[in-house]
Each structure stands twice: as structure tokens, then as C-alpha cells.
Amino acid sequence: MAELAALPMAGAVAEDRIAVATQWQLIWWRFRKHKLAVFGTIVLIAFYLVALFADFFAYVDPTESEAQRSLIAPQPIHWIDEGSFKPYVYALKGARDPLTFKRVYVPDTSKKIPIIFFGRGEPWQVLGFIPSDRHLIAVEGAKPSESLFLLGTDTHGRDLWSRLMYATRTSMTIGLVSVALSLVLGVVLGGISGYFGGAVDTIIQRIIEILRSIPTIPLWMGLAAALPADWSVVQVYFAITIIISLIGWTELARVVRGRFISLKQEDFVMAAELLGCSKSRIIFRHMVPSFISHIIAATTLAVPAIIISETALSFLGLGLRPPAISWGVLLQDAQNIQALVISPWLLLPSFAVIIAVLAFNFMGDGIRDAADPYL
């Protein structure tokens, strides 16, 4: 309890507040102290904002291709124009060098294209129904698809910044349902297994073992081929993540089972049993809350695993595939020599992956540290 004494409000007032604070308030206060966790949470909120308002953060259609704009390097923004803060970029002219076969772009220093923040661009719909045409970044006097390339373009000539915004939307959301499903299954089945023990436990344990021994990649390949072909890429992926979560609950279940086994011996459980509480009430009302923080932490830490596995599966051509847009799909273009050597900006989405995974891990760590009553 030493950390609690270091809380902002010191003295008797603090003691009182601590005494009457709810479990959640205590957790929140402890969490606030963990700088990295707070930072991670802020980053995640930012990512989800991008996911929600991807159209706002992007400035062009992520699918619009133009071969004459293929493989443009990230464009530098010039911030100062004639002494005052007026950001602009130069127009670009490009062609393929017949000797090196690379596309070479030369800025046209006579044409300055001003950048307007929160300016007007292509129309979109806020939350799907409120029309707007404001974008975070817009240009004046030209079409953004022809002039603005903040993170460069890919082989198709599609703007990487805009694609990254939409990719964030897909990657940050697609794993959530699967994780939620795994969570429910893991807690329920792990709880039953741990609480009741005996034959029920043995059967569930064996099922867990069988499911765990199936390697995911062959399963994924088989499923991808077996699902109806007229489903869209995203639908197929979604279905597969659900099926995988039917296997992925095993990890959480084992942990929950272990906790249940040790909790079964606790006094409060015996008291509840003596009082005549129903089994489900005992499990869900009394036992689960005592380690719910651990569950939250485990869940939070499961999401980055899904993000990483999505990118890995894309590498094998099994995960999300074009024309869907996700970090894994963006990285597919980058996993080759020519990307590394000629167009390294294609690797930038990997930073999004790294930051997101780090943020989730820090936040999850912070939650677990804050919620664990034994620390």
C-alpha cells in the first residue's frame, strides 16, 4: 500500500478517500501513476480516433491509382514561405529513367501548392451520415491526388498516407470481436473447468489440448479455401478470426482454471456456498471479480497478438488481401528487395504496427499492475 500514500492528496483526507473508494477508483489511481501506461493509452485513443474518422485524416481516395505517380518518395513540406508560416509543397513531374528503370520525380520549384489544415477536400460522411468536406490536410488550387504525397506513393501510384489512415481503421478493429469471443469462452469454460473439477475438468482439458495442437496456419489455409467464395475478403477474414477465436480461448481458459483452483480454497467462496448461493452466482458474482483485472490485462495483451498475426498471415497470402486495406496488406508491398532498396517508404506502416503493439502492451501492463491486489 506504500504507493497509495504517495497519492496527490496526502494525509487523513487521502486515507478517508481511499477507504471509501471503489475498486475501480483504486485501480484508476494506481494506473495514472504508470507513465508509460498512460502514454500508451493516449496513443491508442489517438489510433482509434483515426480509425473512426479515417476519411477526415486522409486526403485522397486510397484506391485511386495512377501509374504516372508510381513510387513517389515522401514529399517534404516547406513550412516557411517568404518569412511567414505558410506551409506548401512543390508540384512534381516524373518519368522513368531509361538507364536505371527507376521512376524519377523532380520538384517544379516554380509551382508552390499551399497546404491548408482543416481545409476542404473530397466530401465524406461523419459517422456515416453527417456530410462534410473538411479534411485534416488539404491543398489549395490543385487536386490533392495530383499534388500531395506526404508519405509517398506505392507501385499503383496510390497515396500511402491516406491508405495508412484507412488501414488503421481496419487493423485496429478487426481483431476486437475475435478477442471478445475468446474472452467469453475462456472465462466461462475455464471457470467451469476449474470450479467443478473432476470429469468435467478432464474433458475440457483434453479438448483444450486437442485444439491447441492444431497448428493455425494449416487450419487457416483449409478454412480460407472452404468458406464460400462469394464472400468478400473482409467477410472471409472475419469468419476465420471467429473460428480461430474458438480455438484461441484455450490460453485464457487455462489461466482462469488455475486461478479458480486456487480460489476454490478461499474462505469467501466457502462462505458463499454455505449461504446457499447458486453455483453460477458464486462463479460470476464472487470469484470472477477477484481476478477480472487479470482478465482485462490478458485481453488487452491479446489484441496486439492479433495485429501481429494479421501481418504475418498477410505475408503468407492468407490474411487480409487486396483490395482490403490493412497494415498487413500495406506491408505485403514492402516485403521484397526492391522495396527495401528503391522505395523504403513502403515500410512505414510497420511503424504503425510497432507503435500500436507497444501502446497496447504498455496499457495492458499498466492495467495489470494497477489491478493486481497483491502488488
Partner: protein, 686 residues
């Protein structure tokens, strides 16, 4: 170095300035050809060695490689003139540039036991006949000469007297008869006759005329059979290539070695026991394993190199065949190169990186066109030169229409409508595709083969229905009944079920980037109001769906189609093993109406007739028919061409600077067994 670089930059910039001024026009709609074709600096002159056929000028004295000469001295091998065929029966090559030197180890990459074509194509001289370095003329190979009877029913081949298998046993017509009687006709080994060995469904027979003469007799005229012997077919493709992995083809086999595995020469029980002892479940499996030159290094072969370390190990290595039956014009026994070593690359990225590092001596397989800038950048450091060999087929990424698709009646109806197909074809901006995915090096156009190939109907057919014309495309779609559009501009179905949505199946991870091409076409077709769903599937799944007529459209290759009679499957639905434009029709054609579905399109039936009649027609008629066929195929647009005649597939060739007799440009075609047509036996280390 720096001044060189800045000079290059200046040249580059000047070129860019010039191009930029023309870029306005170039980026516009229809194709205005750019001044100098990009990539021309890397495409050399088509050249190759000459095969000497006049026995009078053959060399009279012979030399062999030092490592063989040593073995002769040690008494392990007979002298070179005892190993070669009789002097008048030799295969004599005049090397492209100069007489070469013996020695060296040719290093290459291979990707695993499925990559046997990698070695087959270097070792294809054991074909009965073959094509020369231009890919157009048939020349003798394993056989010394051939003759077609006046009535066209019999093709006779003449073997080389004194030729020997790689273990010294004489090679005679008996090896052909062994194959024919004990392998080909044995239903346990070969249940189905080769369609190349039939004319109009009737089987041919093989007859031994004498020890060095074999005749193939057919009940009807079959002059095209000569081309079957020269192409990469089950009957003419050579014992090495068409043996084990590809199931007992080749028309001949080493009788003295293979007899031990056949029950006919021992007994059913003995043969089966022998197989089971070695871990095979039947004598057929054992035979198949022993039949393969890449798996079995004890198998006698007639090829220039024979396997030392098998293909299913981390290194597939080969060494020279001491009894090989070819010499150069100075009498040196070929090949010059002693060994070929292929190292396993678990994925093609690694193979490319190793090529960049200069670890391969000549490599054209698995090299990606998209990596061309990186290859060029490292050429000096890696001490190699990059050559581009354009292929001859019209379209690398072809949109094959599922002509026998039935899943959705409205879409099936549209796909069978010629105007609809034309509209789709006219809605594709091929220059964009060329620039983005072929680095500008390909040729946009239809599926018709390159204008300088023998069956080309003429250069205007490469452009027919193979250009961008949005106006006409939109008009055609309106005419077909799709004039109504929804709020987003996409055309609506006529049956009232909402937006018309087409599906294109693609396969990822191939040499040609089908999925990105599909994605770009999806964007382009927005302008003609067509909503395209690009579906990337796993390759086997895509093929299985083709077999079940489930694909509306599939993006796949059309290589080999320039020799439409030898390799029709990518141009017409006639091959029941693989067809992407109507498997039901292919089955109908192949079974002569017994299975599958008959096409309703009279033009397709006409094409089938033309194709079928070619086998028995004279050379002149065949060429005429082929051109007519192509006119029909292009006009009907059963497959939509995008960009072709490019080096995308096996056309990016890395050659170390110390290799000699390597042509600047080689023909890049299926039937020529690239790189075989350049005679790798004449390559040497300087």
C-alpha cells in the same frame, strides 16, 4: 564515380525533361508511342549457335574435357572417339562466338523438388527433334534426321549410329520399342494414350525399321507430328523431361536399366517385393521414382549433364555425361561446363537477393522484373550483366472469361455476349498497367502473339480490341442493355437484382502480379460503370474452381499460345487438364463430344474445327488456319489481353561477365525450352 553519377543524373534529367514535355500527350487516352522503347538498351540482338548438318565438314579428330581425359588415362573410361557416335553421325554445333574452354561449375538457384523444369530446360537436347535458336526452325536433336512419307501418315526418324547411353550401353531403336511395348502400352503404367500420339482419336503405332530407324505410323495423315516431336510434348519432349515427374513420356527409355523394375522380366511378386523393400507401395511407384533423372542418379540418360545429387536434397547438382553425342566444330566433345550446381532457395526473394550478390552464373528463372532497378544498381558490384528477353505471347496477365460459367444466369448471359466482352476489353488502360507493373517494358495489346511469329495474323490484330476507348466501351454496354446506373455510377443488372458486380479471380505470389493488375483494372472499369470484385485465391483453389466452371473471370497467363498447336490451352478451351476459359467446353472437345458441354457460340465451334483439322493438314494450310484461328480468337475476345511480349516471365537474365558464348538475346518461349535453344552445352567460363 561521383562525376559519372552526376553525368548520369544530367542525362536522366534531360531525358525526363524531354519526356515531361511529351508526358502530357503520353498520359492521355489512347496510346501514342513513346520515342525510344524503354528497356531497349537491355534487349540485345537475337542470336544463337548454328547446328552443322553437312557431314562432309564434320571434324575428324576429337578431344575431351580434362577431367574425363584423366579417367581415360586411369583406365576407367574408353577413349573419347570410342565414346562418341560414329564421326558422320555426330551432332555438331558451331558455338556462337568462339570455341570454348573446358571446366567450371555453373551455379544456379532452384526452389525445391517441384522445380525440375529448371534443370529440364537446360538439359533438353535429348528431345527427338528441337527448335533452333530463333524458335522457328525445326532441327534434329537426338535423332539425326527425319522423313515424312508422301501421304503424311508415317514419320520416320533416324538415330545416330554409335550413340551410347551415359553408362556406355549402345542407344538403339530397341530403346524405343521397349518404351512403346513395355511402358506406353502397359495399362498399369500408362492408362491413357497420349493425345499427341493420336490423329482424330485414332492411335498411332511405333515400328522398328532397323537398329537405328524408328517409324511412327498413323491411320490418317498427320504431318504435324513432326512438330510434336520437336515441341515440349509428351511424346517428343525427351526422356529426361517427360520421364519420371511427367509420367513416362519421351518415346524411348533405357531398356537395359529399367527392365529390373518390371514384373514382365521377373514376376509380379518379385517386382512388388522389391518396391516394398525400398519403401514404395507398388512396383509402379518404384518404377516412377527410378524413371526420373532428377531423383535417380543411377539412371542412364542421353542428356549433356546427369544428376549427381538429387533434386530432393538441398543441392541439385549435375556433372557432365562422358558419352554425350555432340562436339563443336573443332571436335571438342561437348558440353564445356563440367558441373551445374543448383542451391535451394526456400523463397524466390532469397534467390533474387543471391543473384544480386553475384552468387549465380547464369540465371533467368525466378528473377523478377520488378527488381530490375536493383539488379542494375548492383550489376557492377556483382560483376554481371542484365539481359531482357521478351516473350512472344500477347499478354502476360490475361483476363480469361469463364465462357462456360453458369453460376449466375445474368452474368453468364453477359459473358457470352461478344459486345460485353469487347466493352470490358476497351475499358482497360493498358499503358497504365504497363508503366506500373511492367516498368514500361511490356507491349500493351490483345492476346494475339508477337507480329513476327509464324502464326501472327498481322500487327493490327495486336491492337484490335486491345486499346483504351471509353466512349465505345460505354456505348457497347448501353447497347447490351446495361444503360441504367445507380447513384454511384455503376450499371444495374437487367434482372432487377441491383448493381451488376463482376468477379475476377486472381492468384498471388506468381511471377506476374495478377492481383495488383486486377486492382488497377477495378479502378479503371469504374469509368465504364462496371463494379469489379477482385478475389485473390490460393492457386489450387483457383484451378479447382476453373475445373468446376465456377470462375466468372480469372487472371492468368497466356504463355505458349504463340505456338497455338503445340500449346493451345491458354488460347482456346481444348485441353481437359487445364482450361481457364471454359472447362466444360474443353472436356467436350477433348472427349469428342462424349463429356462436357457443347458450346453454343458458332464461332467457338468453328475455332474447334479449325484447330482439329490442323493436325492432319499440310504446313501451308496449318499456318493459314492458325492465322484464321487467331483472327477469330481476337475478334471474339474470349480472353482479354493486357500487356505482353515482355520479359516478365523468365525474361530477366543475369549473366556473369566471365561467361562465354551467351547470346545477347534468346528466344523466350515454351516450345523452345528456353534456355535450351541457346545451346547451354556451348556456354563456357572464360
Amino acid at each position: 564515380m561521383k562525376s559519372m553519377r552526376s553525368a548520369r543524373v544530367q542525362v536522366g534529367l534531360a531525358l525526363i525533361a524531354a519526356l515531361a514535355m511529351g508526358s502530357e500527350a503520353a498520359v492521355a487516352q489512347t496510346a501514342t508511342p513513346a520515342p525510344a522503347k524503354i528497356g531497349s538498351s537491355l534487349i540485345g540482338k537475337l542470336e544463337g549457335p548454328e547446328i552443322i548438318l553437312d557431314a562432309k565438314v564434320f571434324p575428324k579428330t576429337f578431344k575431351d574435357a580434362p577431367i574425363l581425359a584423366e579417367q581415360v588415362k586411369a583406365g576407367k573410361l574408353p577413349a573419347v572417339d570410342k565414346r562418341l557416335p560414329e564421326p558422320s553421325q555426330l551432332f555438331v554445333v558451331k558455338p556462337l562466338r568462339e570455341i570454348g574452354k573446358y571446366g567450371g561449375n555453373w551455379r544456379r538457384a532452384f526452389t525445391g523438388p517441384a522445380d525440375h523444369e529448371n534443370g529440364n530446360r537446360i538439359n533438353s537436347l535429348d528431345k527427338i527433334l528441337t527448335f533452333d535458336y530463333t524458335g522457328t526452325k525445326i532441327i534434329p536433336s537426338l535423332a539425326r534426321d527425319w522423313k515424312v512419307s508422301d501421304d503424311g501418315k508415317t514419320t520416320t526418324i533416324f538415330l545416330r549410329k554409335g550413340a551410347k547411353w551415359s553408362d556406355g550401353t549402345p542407344f538403339t531403336a530397341n530403346d524405343f520399342m521397349f518404351w512403346y511395348q513395355d511402358i506406353y502400352l502397359n495399362k498399369n503404367i500408362n492408362p491413357t494414350p497420349f493425345f499427341e500420339f493420336q490423329i482424330n482419336g485414332k492411335d498411332g503405332v511405333m515400328k522398328k525399321i532397323d537398329d537405328y530407324t524408328v517409324a511412327f505410323e498413323f491411320p490418317e495423315p498427320y504431318p504435324f507430328f513432326v512438330s510434336q516431336l520437336a515441341g515440349s510434348t509428351a511424346i517428343g519432349g525427351g526422356f529426361a523431361t517427360r520421364g519420371g515427374f511427367q509420367n513416362f513420356g519421351g518415346a524411348y527409355a533405357p531398356a537395359h536399366y529399367l527392365k529390373q523394375f518390371l514384373p514382365k522380366y521377373s514376376s509380379e511378386e518379385a517386382a512388388t517385393k522389391k518396391a516394398k523393400d525400398l519403401g514404395f507401395d507398388s512396383w509402379v511407384s518404384l518404377l516412377k521414382n527410378r524413371y526420373s533423372w532428377a531423383l535417380n542418379n543411377e539412371l542412364p540418360v542421353m542428356t549433356p549433364w546427369k544428376t549427381v545429387s538429387a533434386i530432393n536434397t538441398p543441392t541439385w547438382s549435375m556433372e557432365r555425361n562422358p558419352y554425350f553425342w555432340a562436339v563443336d566444330t573443332a571436335g571438342n566433345q561437348l558440353p564445356y561446363i563440367d558441373r551445374i550446381t543448383m542451391t535451394l532457395a526456400e523463397n524466390t526473394e532469397v534467390a533474387n537477393l543471391r543473384a544480386i550478390a553475384g552468387e549465380y552464373d547464369i540465371q533467368e528463372r525466378h528473377m523478377g522484373l520488378a527488381k530490375l532497378p536493383v539488379f542494375l544498381e548492383n550489376a557492377k558490384k556483382g560483376n554481371y550483366t542484365v539481359h531482357l528477353d521478351p516473350a512472344l505471347n500477347g499478354s502476360d496477365a490475361t483476363i480469361h472469361i469463364g465462357n462456360s460459367y453458369e453460376g449466375d444466369p445474368e452474368i453468364a448471359k453477359l459473358l457470352r455476349n461478344k459486345d460485353f466482352r469487347h466493352a470490358l476489353a476497351l475499358g482497360i488502360d493498358r499503358d497504365q498497367l504497363n508503366e506500373a507493373f511492367w516498368l514500361g517494358v511490356g507491349t500493351p495489346g490483345s492476346v494475339a502473339p508477337a507480329p513476327d511469329t509464324i502464326y501472327s495474323p498481322g500487327p493490327e490484330w495486336n491492337k484490335k480490341w486491345g486499346v483504351l476507348d471509353l466512349k465505345q466501351a460505354n456505348e457497347l454496354l448501353d447497347k447490351v442493355g446495361l444503360a441504367k446506373k445507380d447513384a454511384d455510377g455503376y450499371r444495374l443488372r437487367t434482372d432487377g437484382k441491383g448493381r451488376l458486380r463482376l468477379e475476377l479471380v486472381t492468384v498471388g505470389g506468381q511471377f506476374v502480379p495478377y492481383t495488383p493488375v486486377g486492382e488497377m483494372i477495378k479502378q479503371q472499369w469504374k469509368k465504364i460503370g462496371i463494379d469489379l470484385d477482385v478475389k485473390e485465391l490460393e492457386r489450387n483453389l483457383a484451378f479447382t474452381r476453373d475445373n468446376g466452371n465456377e470462375n466468372q473471370m480469372i487472371a492468368w497467363a497466356n504463355d505458349g499460345s504463340e505456338m497455338i498447336y503445340l500449346f493451345p490451352r491458354h488460347a482456346l478451351p481444348v485441353d481437359a487438364a487445364e482450361s481457364h476459359m471454359g472447362m466444360a467446353y474443353a472436356k467436350w472437345y477433348a472427349s469428342r463430344g462424349a463429356a462436357g458441354k457443347k458450346p453454343e457460340d458458332p464461332e467457338m465451334l468453328r475455332a474447334f474445327d479449325l484447330f482439329r483439322s490442323a493436325m492432319g493438314a499440310s504446313e501451308e494450310d496449318r499456318v493459314k488456319n492458325a492465322k484464321e484461328l487467331w483472327r477469330i480468337i481476337v475478334e471474339q475476345t474470349w480472353s482479354i489481353g493486357t500487356v505482353g511480349q515482355s520479359p516478365a516471365v523468365m525474361g530477366v537474365r543475369i549473366v556473369k561477365n566471365n561467361m562465354g558464348n551467351v547470346p545477347e538475346r534468346q528466344v523466350n518461349a515454351q516450345h523452345a525450352r528456353t534456355p535450351h535453344s541457346s545451346m547451354p552445352i556451348t556456354f563456357y567460363f572464360k
